[in-house]
């Protein structure tokens, strides 16, 4: 499970801002989503092809959280992003 990877769908445009926040624009549904700093960190890691365990490592290195909490947070975001059809599991 910790080796699972996701990829952003092609019709998503992501913009990261100076303070770490970001915005995702879905060109299919014409919706946009605001991501806070930690969510944007996870999105950037997904774009770079990182696995769940690698993303958790980045979160624990950046924030004061346990590995379990980092994995749980990343999984929650994966589910939300999948629900809105912004990413899919890597093949």
């Amino acid at each position: 499970m910790t080796d699972s990877r996701f990829v952003p769908l092609k019709h998503i445009v992501a913009s990261e801002l100076e303070d770490g926040d970001g915005v995702l624009v879905d060109l299919k549904t014409r919706q946009y989503y605001q991501l806070n700093e930690s969510a944007m960190l996870i999105w950037s890691a997904i774009e770079n092809g990182s696995s769940l365990s690698q993303i958790a490592d980045r979160l624990t290195a950046t924030y004061e959280v346990t590995n379990e909490r980092a994995i749980a947070s990343a999984e929650t975001l994966f589910r939300q992003l999948q629900k809105h059809k912004l990413l899919r599991p890597s093949e």
């Binding site: 913009s15 801002l17 303070d19 915005v23 919706q31 946009y32 605001q34």
Partner: protein
């Protein structure tokens, strides 16, 4: 009224083909280093010229633009071809948009606009000859949609905002918000207090190596009667123009005639303000987080999300604009209404803290 009567029924619009072969004309216009080439019969090109004269489009000679990329907008007298798209489309103001890969087809006020993929530098417009479609407002609307789409394909984005510069500032301030939020009123107060201006409501954004620049797009400001009085603008009778067709409550105001030394064609924005009219006693100016600021810009720029061919670059330009600026919300209080001249000081003090 008379025109409606004359063209009713099966009467043809003056530009419809009657079998004779009227030669097509070509006219070039430049704005912010981008050139648009309009092709069509002279009656149609005259309509385009009248419309563009309200904006900072400069007629250009074809020899002047030989080495520049030119976007062709051809205006047809014939019926449009059939367009097939799997996309059900979505509503836009006065019409519908049908994206199809890198092309978009717009049906606006009965007329059809096909905007080709960016690399083709081409937009085709088929004007409808129904009475409603022939109305000047409808035609202007069609031309505006075509021009905006053509400019987007040159990485230039129409932006609903005012642009001003403080007296000694090197970077500009954009006032962003819906109609009625106080952009034009605030702009006029700032100008009367020595600020310079780019526009009260209509800008063109362009990403350059040194950042996103804002260019003046529309030549005139628009005010209602009350604001003209409140801002003491009637003392410039030469600057007051005609009522705005389609919005009779608004009057055109040519600010460059009233304040010729205060106009600047372009600026590099350093601050974004989101004004709103409040009911409290004091004006509040608060920082806006960058993610919220970008979301607000996206709400003002629907084509950044809807024109799929240009959306990635458009979103990136807006994100760059947010990165190069500090954003604030300004909720005006009664203090500003009691003493309008206090607002420039309030703004300058808060954003320099």
């Amino acid at each position: 009224m008379l025109e409606d009567f004359c063209f009713r029924g099966s009467a043809r619009a003056p530009w419809r083909s009657n079998g004779s072969s009227t030669p097509k004309g070509t006219r070039h216009y430049s704005v912010a280093d981008r050139t648009l080439c309009f092709q069509g019969v002279d009656e149609l090109l005259d309509l385009v010229h009248d419309f563009l004269s309200g904006y900072y489009f400069t007629p250009a000679d074809s020899s002047d633009v030989r080495n520049q990329p030119v976007h062709l907008i051809e205006i047809h007298r014939s019926a449009p071809p059939a367009f097939s798209s799997d996309n059900p489309g979505f509503a836009i103001e006065d019409g519908y948009c049908y994206p199809d890969q890198d092309q978009i087809v717009l049906r606006v006020n009965g007329s059809t606009i096909a905007v080709s993929a960016p690399e083709l530098n081409r937009t085709d417009v088929w004007l409808s000859d129904t009475t409603a479609s022939r109305h000047t407002l409808a035609l202007n609307n069609v031309i505006l949609y075509a021009v905006q789409a053509a400019l987007r394909r040159g990485n230039m984005y129409q932006f609903h905002a005012a642009g001003v510069l403080a007296p000694d500032a090197t970077r500009g301030m954009l006032l962003v918000g819906d109609s009625g939020c106080g952009k034009s009123t605030l702009t006029s107060i700032l100008i009367r207090n020595g600020w310079r201006f780019v526009s009260d409501d209509n800008l063109l954004l362009r990403e350059t190596p040194s950042g996103v620049l804002a260019w003046a797009l529309r030549r005139y400001f628009t005010y209602d009667e009350l604001t003209l009085d409140a801002c003491k603008l009637r003392q410039f009778p030469d600057a007051i123009g005609q009522r705005v067709p389609g919005d009779r409550g608004k009057i055109r105001f040519y600010a460059r005639r009233a304040f010729p030394e205060s106009f600047v064609e372009t600026c590099l924005p350093g601050v974004i303000l989101f004004p709103a009219i409040g009911a409290g006693p004091k004006t509040r100016i608060e920082p806006v987080k960058s993610g919220d600021a970008l979301a607000r810009l996206l709400r003002q720029c629907p084509w950044a999300i809807c024109d799929t061919a240009t959306a990635p670059d458009h979103v990136r330009a807006l994100a760059t604009l947010i990165k190069q600026t500090s954003s604030y919300s300004v909720v005006t209080g009664r203090d500003v209404f009691d003493d309008p001249s206090s607002i420039p000081g309030l703004i300058s003090q808060r954003i320099n803290e």
